[in-house]
Symmetry: C2
Subunit: 342 residues, 2 copies
């Protein structure tokens, strides 16, 4: 095992805005040996997500920044290649923060979970049955508290989190309105993710289109953008609205914070609430969320899309592509051959 090569994607320079390919480098190192209590994991899928911008930023954040020269932090799905922890056996599918690399030797306690729902593709542990689906589930239901017949608006509506939010809101009996960029994503919102209305924010006239799609105002706004889309949505909040701040995809740098229209008057007049969400506050409740999401997938109530790039050399440029909106569905990198995927 240790004779092989472990390719690692390391952080080479700290970006001030969105991480680009040049901020990373690929380095070859020996495959590590697991010590007592450790498992050696062969990564199969690496995750690409908007939050990675924060993870490599030096600005205060909820996670320690990835150190310069360190392997890029990432959720992955892998298989146990060797185990010195009696809880795991070779061939087990597992997920956790194993980084952008071929192999990781980690303590058994660092495995986030063993994937047992193998009737659903294991790659979903990085999307709809991972952080993305769990974020949608807990953010919408806990912070948004949607009620039947309320209007729920979702920005990045065709994305990995947003598409799941829209479908969970639909399951709750809400009217769902998706906002996405470009006709392809808007069609996906309508045809695949069941939104009652979908708006292309790039096509102009956003405020009028929101007003038309939300004649009774907006009860829940699930936001992943924090820019001009939000500015337009905030003008149509209903009394008692809940705004969930889950991401800030449209802002290229927070240092310093960009200017936007102040929100206080909307919040005051509508007695509305804006609240930030971080999935890691809900770790103890992941099993509940995963069970519901898996059941809904099996029942055909939640659809998902994946955008799979091939080969670890795609990883360095993949975050920037995500911010350019070039993916349709959850972006992943497959780094193992079919035979290793089992």
């Amino acid at each position: 095992m240790s004779s092989g090569v472990n390719r690692q994607v390391r952080l080479k320079a700290r970006p001030s805005g969105i991480p680009q390919a040049e901020h990373f480098e690929i380095v070859e190192t020996p495959i590590p040996e697991p010590s007592e209590g450790q498992v050696l994991i062969r990564n199969l899928f690496l995750s690409i997500e908007p939050a990675m911008r924060g993870w490599v930023s030096s600005v205060g954040n909820y996670a320690e920044p990835v150190p310069l020269g360190g392997v890029m932090r990432s959720f992955t799905v892998g298989r146990v290649a060797a185990s010195r922890d009696p809880q795991f056996s070779p061939g087990d599918f597992v997920t956790g923060l194993f980084g952008w690399q071929d192999y990781a030797a980690v303590d058994g306690s660092e495995v986030q979970r063993r994937i047992t729902d193998t009737d659903i593709p294991v790659s979903t542990a990085l999307g709809v049955l991972g952080i993305n689906g769990l974020t949608a589930y807990f953010a919408l239901l806990e912070l948004g508290q949607p009620k039947a017949n309320e209007t729920v608006v979702v920005s990045t509506a065709a994305g990995a989190v947003g598409s799941c939010v829209g479908q969970i809101a639909k399951i709750q009996g809400c009217r769902t309105v998706g906002i996405a960029g470009g006709p392809e994503k808007v069609a996906l919102c309508r045809n695949e993710f069941g939104y009652d209305a979908a708006i292309d924010y790039r096509a102009g006239d956003l405020e009028a289109k929101i007003a038309e799609a939300c004649p009774n105002g907006i009860d829940v706004y699930f936001d992943n953008t924090a820019g001009e889309i939000s500015d337009a949505v905030m003008k149509r909040l209903a009394v008692g609205a809940r705004v969930i701040i889950c991401g800030t995809a449209s802002i290229s740098s927070w240092d310093p914070a960009p200017l936007g229209p102040r929100v206080e008057r909307h919040l005051l007049v509508k007695r509305a609430r804006m609240q930030g969400f971080l999935i890691f506050d809900y770790v103890d409740r992941y099993p509940e969320g995963l069970k519901m999401l898996a059941d809904w997938i099996r029942a055909g109530l939640i659809h998902y899309r994946e955008d799979i790039l091939e080969g670890i050399e795609q990883a360095p440029g993949a975050i920037a592509g995500l911010y350019r909106g070039e993916n349709l569905g959850k972006r992943l990198i497959r780094i193992a051959s079919e035979s290793e995927l089992g």
Copy 2:
């Protein structure tokens, strides 16, 4: 009775920003006769409050705008001069939305309450035992949910609402930090309202002073300003912070909304909440709040200040003066002689 004169302050022109004296006119009309079921009220004290800017604005609001030519909407304290409602007797002290005028004939159901706690000055029904105290009570306790040892920051800390918020937070065992304009108000915060620390925002270096006064971050921010003070406070929120939006005193016009640093990243990283508060949502619970506030006043746990102007001709310019910060304490207009005050 009907032979006398009723002076009324009417809205003459609709201001785009803060109402000035020239937006009102004083008109003399006959004293109205109460019809069956009505009471005739002799107003004693008129209230002056920041929310009046919204009441005369044509921009969408939670209350219908005061019509052009209409008597200015205002809470007042008055005495019943004549009654054709068996629930009220001449001489009763009452409070309600009786307007900037000497006399009002209103249905008995329009009386907000009869003032029975006459061991405390009746003028307090317009301040600490009225909307201001009730706002402080419900906004802080319901939206802010302060816990012992948490840090509570209050903007307009020496004002009618803010001073009460600071003292209620202190009763809850919180560390309280007041922000006010000028050395006189800062001294009042420290010496009269019991703040643990008080900051003069006009003296510069606000961010550093907030950081020094709040070494563990800010758990609850009670805001009445919505401007640069808030921008500085938001940078020091603690994880799980609650921001209560109660007023927007530092913004001279919301049409269009002024620009400020976007808040989404603060809310996201700190999983913080910003929520608008309107006291009229709590009408059913006023008795509970008034009882607690009166008990705290009698126990010496809540102090209050009043800034009383003499004569109805002071009313038209009094809102602008409030926004200039020229008052120390709740601003009122006394429009009746000592003999009428009982």
